[in-house]
Every structure is written in C-alpha cells, then in structure tokens.
C-alpha cells in the first residue's frame, strides 16, 4: 500500500487564478524513491510543498486529495494537519545556508521536533541526535551540536539537515533539490548519503530535481512535469529505455551524459513545446467543463 497518494491535486494563484498545478496524481510506496522532474517553474517543488503543507500564502489548492498514511490531509484543520505532517513526514531543504536558524545552536534544531511534537524525553532526543550525526559521518558531533550554523560549512549543514529529517523516523521524506545549492564535489557525497540513509531507514522519498542524472541513480520511479501537469509517470528503467511522451524524450536529449560530456546538447525543439502547450490548453478546456 503506498504511503503517499496524491489524487487530482490542482492549485492556482490567489487573485489572478493562474493555474500552478493541474489535477496532479502520483503515489509513493514505503521504501520507494519517486522522482519529480521538470524544468524550473514546472510546479515540481509546489507538489512537495503542498504535501508538507508549506505552500506560499499566494497559492491556494482548489481540488484533490493528499493521503498521507491513509489520511487525507486537506480534510484536517490546519493545526491537526501540521501535527500529523510533523509526526510522519520531514523535509530536506534545498539551501543549507538559510535552512538553519542563525541565532540558535545546532542541537535544539535537531531535537526540538522529537521533544515538542513526538513527546520524547530530552535525554533520549539528545542521544538520538548524536547517533544520527554519527550516521551522517559528521566528525566531532558533540562540538558540532554546541556550535552555531555560521561556524559550519554548507556540506556539513546539509548533513545536519538530513540527520534532523531522519531523526524522527518519518515514513515520508520530501527532498527538495537537496544538492542544487552545494558545489559539485560535495553533491555526490550528499546524494550517496541520502540514498544510503533512505535504504537503511526504508523511508518513502519524494525527490524533487531537475537533473535526470540524479534520478537515474537514486529513484525507482518518476513523474515528468510541465506547466503543473504530470506528462508521464513511469518506472525509471522504462523511462531511460524509451520515454513515452515527446516532451520526455526531448528532455532526455537535452540532458548532458556523464558518459559522453562532449556530445552537443539538443535544446527542446519548438514543435515539442507547441505540442505540450496544446495539451495544456486542451486540459484546461476539459477542466472547465469537467
């Protein structure tokens, strides 16, 4: 049974009504890693935010269900929804430099959810934090726990955020482009770390990225997004062998291969763009009458 099931989720901008998500459906089973791929602005991180209930105030959900561990979050009152998400899901943010509170030491930022939301005893939470910092290979974790965010490197801080996410043993983790803000050398280590942690803890992982290379190494299945609409949803193996949708193929062609870095990159052709635009228009007309 899939841990997260999103059905027909639509969202739009308040005021102008500009569509952000168009009836998105996907599901992530326990222990499975599902990728959300698309150009920037395609709505992939919006889905992650919708699931975790942190949509920007200017965006409103118009229809759909988000079932987390069998319960539709949208039907719960805000406070109840927040607590349930806090207890069962977690976020690995994109930019570690801004995701830690500069005026608080590291320790409370890792243990606060355990103590306040999950009701753990302080001692158990501190022990858990130490154990997780070891797991994410942070040298001298006692000193790190006492120090302030500005005293640590970007890579170190991302490891802490990963540790903090896994500390609560969440059933679902949303990783919102966790390596984009890091320099290349550190990206590989962090990717490897996330994959190992996910495998070890058996957490369902929703991995938002624009890098198909990452998807091929980490995810088991993926959804390709364009204009807030799921263009294709397939297992990774089938996708890389033969993507069904024209836009997916164009996207794959535009992605540099590690194996052949010098190959000239083919930008997504105009025709394909026109095709998928038409699809969007048709979808909207359908949605209006539906």
């Amino acid at each position: 049974m899939s841990f997260l099931t999103v059905t027909n989720l639509s969202a739009r901008l308040k005021g102008t009504g500009f569509p952000i998500l168009r009836r998105v459906s996907l599901s992530v089973a326990a222990g499975q890693v599902h990728g959300l791929v698309g150009e920037s602005g395609a709505g992939k991180s919006m889905i992650g935010k919708a699931v975790l209930g942190i949509l920007p105030s200017s965006v409103e959900i118009t229809e759909g269900r988000i079932e987390l561990d069998g319960v539709d979050l949208l039907s719960l009152p805000l406070k109840e929804r927040r607590r349930r998400i806090g207890a069962t899901a977690a976020l690995i943010p994109q930019d570690p430099l801004t995701a830690l509170n500069p005026s608080r030491r590291i320790a409370p930022q890792v243990t606060d959810r355990l103590v306040d939301i999950l009701g753990w005893a302080r001692a158990r939470a501190n022990a858990r934090a130490l154990e997780l910092l070891h797991e994410v290979q942070i040298p001298d974790p006692e000193r790190v726990l006492r120090s302030y965010p500005h005293e640590l490197s970007g890579g170190m801080r991302q490891r802490i955020l990963i540790a903090s996410a896994f500390a609560a043993e969440p059933k679902l983790i949303v990783a919102d482009e966790p390596t984009t803000a890091l320099d290349v050398t550190v990206q590989k280590q962090i990717l490897k770390l996330i994959a190992e942690m996910q495998a070890r803890h058996g957490t369902a992982l929703l991995f938002v990225t624009h890098d198909l290379g990452v998807v091929s190494k980490v995810c088991q299945s993926l959804s390709v997004l364009y204009g807030g609409m799921v263009v294709e949803d397939t297992p990774v193996r089938d996708f890389f062998r033969a993507p069904a949708h024209a836009y997916s193929r164009a996207l794959l062609a535009a992605t540099p291969k590690y194996t052949d870095p010098m190959a000239s990159l083919v930008p997504v052709p105009e025709a394909v763009i026109a095709g998928v635009q038409a699809e969007l228009a048709a979808f909207d007309r359908g949605a209006r009458h539906g």
Binding site: I54, R82, L91, L100
Partner: protein
C-alpha cells in the same frame, strides 16, 4: 585587543561630541535675548544695580572667558550655581535625573510591549484587514503628538473615569523611606509594593503618552523585519516539523527579527529622554524636562547648560550600550 581599540576610539569620539555640545549650548544661551539679570530687576533698581548683579553672576566677562571659567569648574565637578534655585547645578540635575530616567524606561517598556504585540499580531494576520487596521492604528499613533495623547489621557483616566493620578510622581502625604531618587526601582528592592503601586499610578499616564508614538515606530519596524524573516527557509522548515504558526513566529522568526529593531530602540530611547520635556510639564512630573522649561523661561544659564550637558552624556552612554548589546546579542559577532 581589537575590541579595546574600538572602545578607546569610541571614548575619543564621545569626548569630542560632549565638548562640541558644551560649546554650542554655551554660546547659544548667551546669545538668547532676555538675560537673567533683567529678570531680577526689582521696581526701583538703578543702573549700577544692574552692573553690580551682572558682575556678581560673572556675566560681564566676554563669552570665551566665561566658558573657560565654566569648563575649569566642570573639570573639578563644579557645574556652577543655579541662578533661580541658588544651589549647585550638579545636585539639582542629578537629583532630578532619576525621575526622568524612570519615566523614560517605563515608557520604553510600555512601547516595546505595545509595539511587540502590534507587530506579532500584524505578522500573524498579515495580508488581512487586521494588518491594515494595525497599520492605520500605527499611523494614527504617529500622527498625533504625544502631548495631545497626554490631554486625552488626562480627560479619560483622570477626570471621566478617575483611575490614575493626574500629576506629580508620588502621593505627597506618603512617607518615603527611599535613600536614592529612584523611587520606582527602590520601592521594588524594598518590597514596598504599596508605594510601588502608588508611584506607577502616577507615572502610568505620562509614560503611556510618551510610549504611544514610540510603540507605533517599534511596531512598524518590527513587523516589517518579522515579515521579511517569515520568508526564510528555517521558518518554513520549522513548519514542516509540526509547529503551529504562533510558535514559528515567536521562537524562530522573532529572535532574529529583533536585532535590527534594537538599534532603533536605542536611538529612540535617547529621543525619548530628550522628549519628556513637554509631557513632564503637562503632568507636572518633577523630572529634568520640567526643570529645563523653568530654566529656559527664567534664563537660568548655568542650569540650562548643566541639563543639556547631562542629556548629551546620557545620549552617548545609551548609544554605547546599544552598540555593545548589539554585538553581544548577535551570535555572528560574538564568536567573530
């Protein structure tokens, strides 16, 4: 070592500032028309009376010479004798300073609380009518001078619903066991809460009148920096941890949003002390400001000089404290 160097530099600049203030006020009040001697002339006085009195108060010498006499006196702690009160200026000024300081501190506390509540509510309800209402309320608080708030308060809580005392600093008939002039603080230290309540009942209206415009300024600025902080990632992360919006604002956003407001509070505090003149006059509160107006009306030159210099000292001292506390509170600077 670096901290010491900047501290010494600060002391030097403070000294320059104080000297500059002393010179300017010394010249200005001697240029002001209406010298104190004319004030003292009785009906039948003759010209030599005028000359004799002028010489007696040393006002016949050229201004630079008068300044040197005054400055040399100050170095030995003698700020001259007040013409009207015929007592050393230093005793008078230091006697009245605690009252003004306490009033300013109480006004600041009220302003911070009021401003804080406005900012937090405004942020919590940002984008809604509530925030628009708070903005208009802040605009109103800012656009009415504090003495008019004083008038409104006197009519409301002094006469219509007599809840607070209208003038003075304490009920005269009470016997005060205080040794210092810091009535408010000492009444707490001595656990005399009956006296404390009486003093607060006297100070509340003037402090509130002073606090309303200040609260508006603090409220607006804190709300703005809070709203900016609310967009940062660590706030969003905290929401995913399951915390409610109130917790997120107060525990995650507020500690970081306070820092820029702190420097403003420091500067406003100095304006506050300087600005109590009118309110002390309206509420007959015996602070420095009240005495300052009498000094100006009676052209009590040494007293005016003493009061202005004291204000300058407080101003520079408060600035120093604010800068130091900014460094202490901001972890980045503390662990430099």
């Amino acid at each position: 070592m670096q901290l010491l160097r900047t501290f010494l530099l600060r002391l030097l600049t403070t000294a320059i500032t104080l000297i500059g203030v002393a010179v300017i006020v010394f010249v200005v009040i001697r240029v002001v028309p209406g010298n104190p001697i004319a004030m003292m002339l009785p009906p039948g006085a003759t010209d030599e009376d005028i000359a004799r009195l002028t010489a007696q108060y040393g006002l016949d010498k050229p201004i630079p010479e008068q300044f040197l006499i005054w400055a040399s006196g100050v170095l030995q702690g003698d700020f001259g004798t007040s013409i009207t009160a015929r007592q050393p200026v230093l005793d008078l000024v230091l006697g009245r300073l605690p009252a003004t300081l306490e009033l300013s501190i109480m006004a600041l506390v009220i302003a911070v609380i009021l401003g804080g509540v406005m900012a937090l509510t405004g942020t919590r309800a940002r984008g809604t009518k509530v925030e628009a209402g708070i903005d208009v309320a802040n605009g109103m608080a800012l656009s009415v001078p504090d003495f008019l708030w004083g008038l409104v308060l006197i009519l409301l809580f002094g006469v219509l619903v007599p809840v607070f005392h209208i003038s003075g600093r304490v009920t005269p008939s009470l016997d005060l066991p205080f040794t210092t002039n810091f009535y408010l603080f000492e009444s707490v230290l001595r656990l005399r809460f009956d006296l404390w309540a009486d003093i607060v009942s006297h100070m509340f209206m003037p402090a509130l009148a002073l606090a309303i415009p200040l609260a508006a300024i603090i409220g607006q600025l804190l709300k703005q920096s809070l709203k900016e902080t609310m967009h940062l990632d660590y706030v969003t992360l905290s929401r995913t941890k399951g915390y409610g919006e109130n917790h997120v604002i107060t525990r995650e956003a507020l500690p970081n949003a306070i820092l820029p407001t702190l420097t403003l509070v420091g500067v406003q505090f100095t304006f506050l002390i300087g600005g109590t003149v009118i309110i002390e006059r309206l509420f007959s509160y015996e602070g420095l400001g009240n005495m300052a107006i009498d000094a100006v009306i009676n052209r009590d030159l040494p007293l005016i000089q003493g009061i202005v210099i004291l204000f300058a000292v407080i101003f520079t001292a408060v600035n120093l404290v604010v800068d130091l506390s900014y460094a202490l509170l901001n972890p980045r600077l503390r662990h430099g």
